[in-house]
């Protein structure tokens, strides 16, 4: 077991972890971050997407021990973020979810898309969502939701987390 200390959703978290523990498993167990969904555990489906030191990352293919000292945000910690709030409203308005399993990863990824592209085209949104699999919606509602959020967000730069 190896001691690590990181900041998860604004709170300092110290723990001893087995070196093979993935960041996703660690966050789910130690930080009760059940929004971190596991759809493939090999870095393809995007359901476990979180924010590590300001960049989105797949928590299923990172090891917790390698993230000692990192600052991490999962959807649990983003309740007060106005971009996530708008995205949630837009996903609801545009029927951007069905079973809800891919949804946390979609929201975190979508926030990053809007940060990089404040007024994205549909093609940009689709390309940027290529790493997030949804098996229910056929993506139409998700793409519409991201575009809807872009239109309805207040002007101004979106800060990284």
């Amino acid at each position: 077991m190896q001691p690590i200390e990181l900041i998860v959703n604004g709170e300092r978290l110290s723990a001893a972890v087995d070196p093979r523990t993935t960041l996703a498993d660690f966050l789910r167990e130690a930080a009760d971050a059940r929004s971190v969904h596991l759809g493939c555990e090999h870095g393809v489906c995007g359901a476990c997407t979180i924010v590590v030191d300001g960049r989105i990352a797949r928590s299923c293919i990172a090891l917790a021990v390698a993230l000692d000292g990192a600052e991490i945000w999962t959807l649990e910690g983003l309740g007060a973020d106005p971009v996530i709030a708008q995205l949630r409203a837009s996903f609801h308005e545009c029927h951007g979810l069905q079973c809800g399993y891919c949804t946390p990863g979609m929201l975190v990824t979508a926030r990053e898309i809007l940060r990089r592209h404040p007024a994205p085209s549909e093609a940009v949104v689709r390309e940027a969502l290529a790493g997030n699999i949804c098996r229910c919606t056929g993506y139409a509602g998700i793409v519409a939701a991201v575009l809807h959020a872009a239109e309805n967000l207040a002007e101004g730069e979106i800060p990284p987390l």
Partner: protein, 788 residues
């Protein structure tokens, strides 16, 4: 997506936003992996690495005897036995854990426990197994090879069932035909891929005396019945709960060996257990789908009217018959649906359900019909091409006409109502075939070839007793129940045994309640997926829940409304005939009103306010079945415009249009969502998804790097038109529609690709239409000659 609906409508017909969204958008709802118990053990299954072998020796790792379990350690337990009632069916017993023999790669051999999944997997690696390997049956052709060993004891050949249809006079059709064509089609094997895998949590509830089984399943009550039988327990000793379910599409609609294994082990040891399927397990060991082969001969007159149809259908159903569907379901659906929307009266076909050393075949969105639709719709295009006719025109000449309903099909089905031609004309109008010539001109001289394709589908939905009896299953899914009650403060709680795994049923059932009770959908709570909450019911599959559960909820609400009106009229001091339910109140003709909350308070807390003839309480249980139980038939036509890159073999979808009829639409937004989701899966079948096996029965796709699921760039937004002819046999005229979107895309896209390649003399009749297959089709000798 053009949706004609009054935006303020909350009841049937309104695109209200979903009630279930908030908890899912929070990310905090409870899926199977989120359920824990103090002291819970994580489960890893040791799974067979070989396709076919006798297990000659099994040995637990030293010191881990209490954490590794074989079949003999599970106590009295019956195998899963999914017997078809069809004469000639060969039985397969599917054990929870291998019983001395393994029959496919991925079959469970041992249950291993650890404090983490990693520890449990370590243990699985340390179990010693001696395999005496047997030759594997890895292909349909091999299932009839007498030199290969029988997969199950006592079998004379590796075939579950052979069935036949012979109606009308095919020989006369052949003699009279101006055109007879024979074509071969293949729809290859797929995984199903819910984004959340399967999973099971089991523990003992000492207070209630129940063995509690949480399972990511589509039908908890039916699972309880099956588990009770296999475990020799009383149903009351079992509670089955489906928590939030992260997609299903059929793969969570079987009694799985893992459910049985965990339940048996908890019963035996008292340990709380959790198994969460990983992606590799899902791809190799969850039920698979499709794998159909067809040889179709069609006889037509000079105008393209079909006079007779002949077919040989072969399906590779894998190693076991899955409960409750049975192995022959897939081929049985294919043979029953092959005549499709066409008025074909002479039909002769054989359907062979082969067994192999592969993962068992189970239901997947569309069940049997994507293959049957592929075969008949490709054939309609072949008739059109051979006669130089427009493919839509050939279809219009052959559809069952609106004045011919109810239509008894040559496949033995009874279609309720429809206007198939209207869907084809609408789809053609949307896709605008007149622009193809200009597009071809534009791309002349490049590698890009433009093609247009159509496919019409039928989707039998909400079929009841007659249909399931005809299919010979162990369970007859003939009805649905609902139990509703109003709380003392006037909210409506509906307990239903169906299961919501993305379909938005909590919203649409609340819309039904709104129409019956005038209650705001926001005041309605739908609870599902728990045998301890809801009365017995069949679950969510076969596009049945909106019709069946909607019908049950409607009937229950109707009865509750009568009681509420009685109480309301009494409180308002008017006669019952002079009140109605509106906007959460009972309203008298003169305008005086009393809110539901006040009526509920009287019903529960102030019986002195009730009329003498009314019993206290506001609860109703109701059952529903359709007026005729042969199914409500949705249908539609898909039209697609593609570009095929003859250099790389890539297919690009340029435009996609859908015209469909699912009867009365409860929520157009949700219907469009279901249609788009089905389309995405249909595109997967058509272009990307395949579960190939090696000659010795090794699955060759075990990650998302080699099993390709469509992403956002691959799925265009389709334009959808709703025709909406109400079903005459269901309450509200609703027809189910959960599967239709997935049925015709392989046919429509393959027709479009063939339309694009036809000038080059190339043809392709196998899904998925991978670049590799398209290039090989282009290199086939006849393509070279025609192209030269």
């Amino acid at each position: 997506m053009a949706v004609a609906t009054a935006p303020d409508r909350k009841g049937i017909g309104g695109s209200i936003r979903r009630i279930e969204d908030a908890r899912l958008l929070s990310g905090r709802s409870t899926f199977i992996a989120d359920i824990g118990r103090p002291g819970i053990w994580e489960v890893a299954f040791l799974r067979s690495p070989v396709a076919h072998a006798n297990l000659v020796h099994l040995e637990k790792p030293a010191g881990a005897e209490d954490r590794v379990f074989f079949l003999a350690d599970l106590g009295a337990i019956l195998p899963i036995r999914a017997d078809s009632q069809a004469p000639g069916f060969r039985r397969s017993d599917y054990p929870a854990i291998a019983d001395g023999k393994v029959r496919f790669v991925g079959e469970p051999i041992a249950i291993c426990l650890g404090r983490t999944r990693g520890e449990a997997e370590d243990l699985a690696q340390a179990v010693l197994v001696d395999y005496d390997e047997l030759p594997a049956v890895a292909d349909i052709a091999q299932s009839r090879n007498p030199d290969l060993p029988p997969i199950h004891p006592g079998w004379s050949e590796n075939v579950f069932l052979e069935s036949r249809v012979d109606v009308g006079d095919v020989d006369a059709a052949r003699a009279a035909a101006a055109l007879s064509l024979t074509r071969r089609y293949r729809m290859n094997r797929q995984a199903i891929v819910s984004l959340e895998g399967r999973g099971v949590v089991t523990y003992r509830d000492e207070r209630t005396g129940e063995l509690v089984v949480y399972s990511s399943t589509q039908f908890p009550h039916v699972i309880r019945t099956a588990l009770a039988e296999c475990l020799g327990m009383k149903e009351r000793e079992l509670r089955v709960v489906a928590p939030e379910v992260g997609g299903s599409f059929g793969v969570k609609n079987n009694l799985n060996p893992e459910e049985l294994a965990l339940a048996a082990l908890t019963r035996r040891t008292g340990k709380a257990l959790r198994w969460v399927e990983d992606r590799r397990e899902h791809l190799i060991a969850s039920a698979h789908a499709r794998e159909h082969r067809y040889e179709v001969t069609v006889h037509a007159d000079g105008e393209g009217r079909v006079l007779g149809l002949e077919a040989t259908i072969e399906v590779d159903a894998g190693a076991y018959s899955v409960w409750p569907w049975t192995a022959p379901m897939e081929a049985g659906m294919a043979i029953g649906f092959l005549p499709g929307p066409y008025a074909i009266t002479s039909y002769r076909a054989t359907a062979l359900t082969c067994a192999s050393n592969k993962s068992p075949l189970g239901p997947y969105r569309g069940v049997g019909r994507p293959g049957a639709c592929f075969a008949i719709e490709r054939t309609m295009d072949e008739i059109a091409a051979a006669l130089g006719l427009d493919p839509v025109e050939v279809r219009l000449r052959n559809y069952v006409r609106p004045d011919q309903f109810p239509w008894k099909s040559a496949g033995g089905k009874t279609y309720d109502i429809g206007d198939y031609g209207a869907s084809a004309r609408a789809a053609r109008d949307m896709i605008r075939p007149e622009r193809v010539a200009a597009l071809r001109q534009e791309h002349a001289g490049s590698d890009w070839r433009i093609g247009i394709g159509y496919a019409t589908y039928l989707e039998q939905t909400a079929h009841g007793t007659a249909e399931w009896v005809q299919r010979g299953l162990p369970v007859v899914f003939g009805y649905e129940q609902a139990e509703i009650h109003m709380t003392a403060d006037g909210m409506l709680v509906m307990d239903v045994p169906i299961q919501n795994h993305g379909q938005g049923l909590e919203t649409t059932l609340a819309q039904v309640a709104h129409d019956e009770l005038g209650i705001d959908p926001a005041q309605v709570v739908v609870r599902h997926g728990d045998t301890s909450l809801a009365p017995y019911g069949m679950g969510t599959f076969a596009s049945r829940s909106m019709v069946m559960s909607g019908g049950a909820v409607g009937r229950a609400c109707e009865a509750l409304a009568a009681k509420i009106r009685k109480i309301g009229a009494h409180l308002l001091q008017v006669t019952e005939e002079n009140v109605r339910l509106k906007d959460g109140e009972v309203v008298a003709a003169g305008g005086a009103s009393v809110p539901l909350a006040e009526i509920a308070m009287a019903a529960y807390l102030h019986p002195e306010r009730l009329p003498d003839t009314v019993e206290p309480g506001l609860s109703v249980i109701a059952s529903y079945r359709t007026a005729r139980d042969t199914g409500a038939w949705s249908y539609g036509t898909h039209a697609v415009l593609v570009a095929v890159d003859t250099g790389t073999g890539l297919v690009e979808i340029l435009d996609y249009a859908i015209a469909h009829d699912c009867g009365t639409i409860v929520n157009p937004m949700i219907v469009d969502g279901q249609m788009m989701g089905g389309l995405a899966q249909g595109i997967g079948t058509a272009l990307y998804e395949e579960m190939p096996y090696s000659e010795d029965g090794q699955p060759l796709a075990s990650t998302f790097m080699d099993y390709l699921v469509p992403g956002a760039p691959e799925v265009p937004r389709a334009r959808i038109e709703h025709l909406s002819i109400p079903s005459p046999i269901t309450r509200y005229g609703i027809k189910g529609m959960g599967e239709g979107g997935a049925i015709p895309p392989p046919a429509a896209i393959c027709n479009a690709v063939n339309d694009a390649l036809r000038p080059l003399g190339a043809a392709i009749d196998e899904t998925p239409l991978t670049p590799d297959r398209i290039i090989r089709a282009l290199m086939a000798p006849q393509a070279g000659e025609a192209g030269a």
